[in-house]
């Protein structure tokens, strides 16, 4: 087997383990490239049957329109059941005061909405598109990663996980996070997208966009960020390397319009994926670790 076949086989095996070991799994889907890849892998894992669990979007309300449109199209095309739970509703329900910031992030609040949804539907497994290669806290995750009753990760007390034998036993109220593409790198994802001809939101390819420059990064102009008079506005040819919230994902200058051009661009880039595009991880050295400890994906 070549490496892509091996990674695909590993992911498909994990998907089938999820279906066999859990009563109510859900696949977390945002319209980004990694969760789109998950849906394609799941479709292949269960063919000729349809995917035997729903997908859920924990919606921060700060979305790129293109990602939402793409989300709805893919859901319809694959005949999936989509659940949407909104961070907005958690904010109202718990009377949360949102900090007034230039780039207000609802990233941390997503964990609250996610945990509420897990309890509402009784999900025992959430399938996520985290990759170990993305970030140093993620590099420590198991494929099957237990969250306690409050949704917390216990990185210093993880279960042994040998070979491809996954232990899915959990206590009532606990929840498993499962990461079928743990071992994929950004480049592997793109190579597979090319090989399987997987459609992505237009955001991932070069387009013209009005941006402001913030700490040397290009942030899309939107109603969700605070724009001051001092801000320099530019219209640039950009694309996104990762797609999260409009408020915490930076665009990169790019003329890459096709999958081949994107792959060439990533190959020659000397900056890592999250380093280039994620503002939320720049806050501190352990920003991701902290979010994960609190129940984040």
């Amino acid at each position: 087997m070549n490496y892509l076949q091996e990674l695909e086989a590993e992911a498909i095996y994990v998907f089938r383990e999820i279906a066999a070991q859990f009563k109510k799994p859900v696949l977390l889907f945002s319209g980004g490239k990694d969760s789109t890849l998950l849906i394609h892998l799941a479709a292949k894992a269960f063919y000729p049957m349809s995917i035997p669990f729903p997908v859920m979007h924990v919606d921060t309300g700060h979305n790129f329109e293109e990602a939402l449109r793409f989300r709805d199209q893919l859901v319809q095309q694959k005949g999936l059941k989509l659940i949407v739970r909104k961070v907005e509703d958690s904010i109202i329900k718990y009377g949360i005061e949102e900090p007034v910031e230039k780039l207000p992030s609802r990233n941390v609040l997503q964990s609250i909405t996610l945990m509420d949804a897990i309890r509402e539907f009784g999900f025992d497994a959430c399938i996520g598109s985290g990759r170990r290669d993305e970030e140093k806290a993620r590099a420590k995750e198991r494929f099957f990663s237990v969250r306690d009753k409050e949704g917390k990760w216990q990185p210093y007390n993880q279960k042994p996980e040998l070979w491809n034998i996954y232990n899915g036993y959990i206590d009532e109220g606990e929840n498993m996070r499962v990461f079928p593409i743990s071992n994929w790198t950004e480049m592997d994802v793109w190579q597979y997208i090319r090989q399987e001809n997987i459609a992505l939101p237009s955001l991932y390819f070069s387009h013209e966009r009005s941006c402001i420059v913030h700490n040397g990064r290009l942030i899309a102009v939107s109603e969700y960020i605070k724009i001051d008079d001092e801000d320099i506005r530019l219209t640039e040819n950009v694309r996104y390397r990762t797609v999260g919230d409009m408020t915490c994902t930076a665009a990169i200058k790019s003329d890459a319009r096709t999958i081949d051009e994107v792959i060439r661009e990533i190959e020659t880039s000397n900056i890592s994926e999250r380093g280039e595009t994620r503002i939320d991880d720049q806050l501190s050295d352990a920003a991701m670790e902290d979010r994960k400890l609190q129940g984040y994906f």
Binding site: M1, N2, Y3, E6, L7, A9, I12, Y13, R16, E17, A19, A20, K44, A45, F46, Y47, P48, M49, P52, R132, D133, K136, A137, A139, K140, R142, P155, Y156, Q158, K159, P160, E161, L162, W163, N164, I165, N167, Y169, I170, D171, S182, N183, T185, M187, D188, S269, N270, I271, S272, G275, E276, D285, A286, E289
Partner: protein, 404 residues
């Protein structure tokens, strides 16, 4: 392009993180922003810091759990599991080593072989790791002297023999300065073997699959559009053909594969490693955990198994009155330990009788299961010869087993 998985083992401070950092750096696999975030001593980057993960690991300067790194060359893709060195965290090291083709065991040339070197070698022997590379590190600190390398090599040879390790390779390196890591070092002209990266680039990654065909059932569901039962599973070894008559274990029924799907395609034959979906001529006795085998080549199918075991839980004991859950690939049964035949002494590797097992110990046990388990010997079908033990009370994975 092929994938090679390897792990770096060794005691704390033997240079595991430095070596991983060095390999990533030498192969151009560290991006500028990551390099910038790493601390520097004067003008030299702290290579060890590149692989640090969690906050307390960075603060304490130790690795607690496995961290995974990825890099590629023009030739291969690599997955490194960066293992903790502390005795206490050996159980995490076992997780990281379970899937690898190569275990690199680092030895600090100044200290020679330590108890952790022995323990990690015992793990390699338990897991039947394909290659063990003994990387004798910090050669720079001993003026690159050949005699240190030679004496360590001679000492390790006897360990390898006693543990029946498969292929063992010795390489003298300096992870810090890069000697024999990704190019042959001019500081050690007396060494004629490959540098570490050349070895990794060339070693054979082929998983052996010469035993009889085995197919394991993972998940079953009804296809609503046709009303037929679909069997999702994996070919564990060699190949299985459409239309072939197979025996189902443990039920003993005979079935015929009527339809074979892999990915989006219908197949005539499926090969080892492939995830497949089947339609069978009968639904009798086939479910998750079933093993399908050719009529002429049955697996063992009993309620008594003798297995090597590696105990992984610091709190639970290998109690002979307690019920556990055994899982081998997707088969599962309640089980009990009937006897501990012997423990392998982690220093002398002698077999000795003991009353119980503690964390990080390797032994041979007799297990009795509630329902028959269909298994093979490791040499026949590795995937059908290895398993885990789960404690039904805590749901923890308390041990790993290998059937010999």
């Amino acid at each position: 392009m092929e994938l090679l998985r390897f792990t770096t083992a060794g005691s704390i401070d033997d240079g595991k993180s430095t070596l991983t950092g060095r390999l990533l750096y030498d192969t151009g696999n560290i991006k500028d922003d990551v390099l910038e975030s790493v601390s520097k001593v004067g003008n030299t980057i702290n290579l060890a810091h590149i692989t640090d993960g969690l906050r307390s690991e960075r603060a304490g300067g130790i690795t607690i759990d496995i961290g995974y790194r990825y890099f590629k060359t023009n030739n291969r893709k690599y997955i490194i599991s960066d293992a903790p060195g502390h005795f206490q965290y050996t159980k995490n090291m076992v997780t990281g080593a379970s899937n690898v083709d190569v275990m690199i065991i680092l030895v600090d040339a100044r200290n020679g072989i330590t108890s952790q070197t022995r323990l990690h070698s015992l793990v390699a022997s338990f897991l039947r790791t394909r290659y063990v590379v003994v990387a004798i590190n910090k050669m720079d600190a001993l003026a690159y002297a050949e005699d240190v390398f030679e004496s360590t090599r001679i000492e390790y040879r006897s360990i390898a023999e006693k543990l029946q390790l498969r292929d063992v390779i010795f390489i003298p390196i300096s992870a810090l300065h890069g000697d024999n890591v990704s190019a042959h070092s001019e500081n050690m002209p007396w060494y004629n073997g490959p540098d570490l990266l050349s070895f990794l680039e060339q070693c054979d990654t082929q998983k052996t699959a010469n035993g009889p065909g085995r197919l394991s059932i993972q998940y079953t569901a009804e296809d609503e559009s046709t009303g037929r039962t679909l069997y999702f599973g994996k070919v564990l070894s060699v190949e299985i053909h459409k239309g072939e008559r197979l025996t189902v274990f443990p039920s003993g029924n005979e079935v015929l594969i009527e339809k074979y799907i892999s990915g989006y395609e219908e197949l005539e034959t499926a090969k080892a490693g492939e995830n497949i979906c089947l339609e069978l001529n009968t639904n009798d006795g086939v479910k998750r955990g079933s093993i399908l085998a050719p009529l002429t080549h049955s697996p063992q199918c009993t309620k008594h198994l003798t297995a090597d075991i590696c105990w992984l839980d610091p709190e639970i004991d290998c109690d002979q009155n307690k019920e556990f859950i055994l899982r081998i690939n997707t088969q599962e049964s309640i089980c009990r330990f009937r006897d501990i035949e012997y423990r392998i002494n982690p220093f002398s590797f002698d077999k000795e009788r003991v009353a119980g097992l503690k964390v990080n110990e390797v032994a041979s046990v007799i297990i009795e299961t509630e329902i028959p388990i269909a298994y093979d010997n490791y040499d026949v079908c590795p995937e059908n010869a290895r398993g885990i033990i789960i404690d039904p009370a805590t749901h923890n994975t308390v041990a790993a087993i290998m059937i010999h």
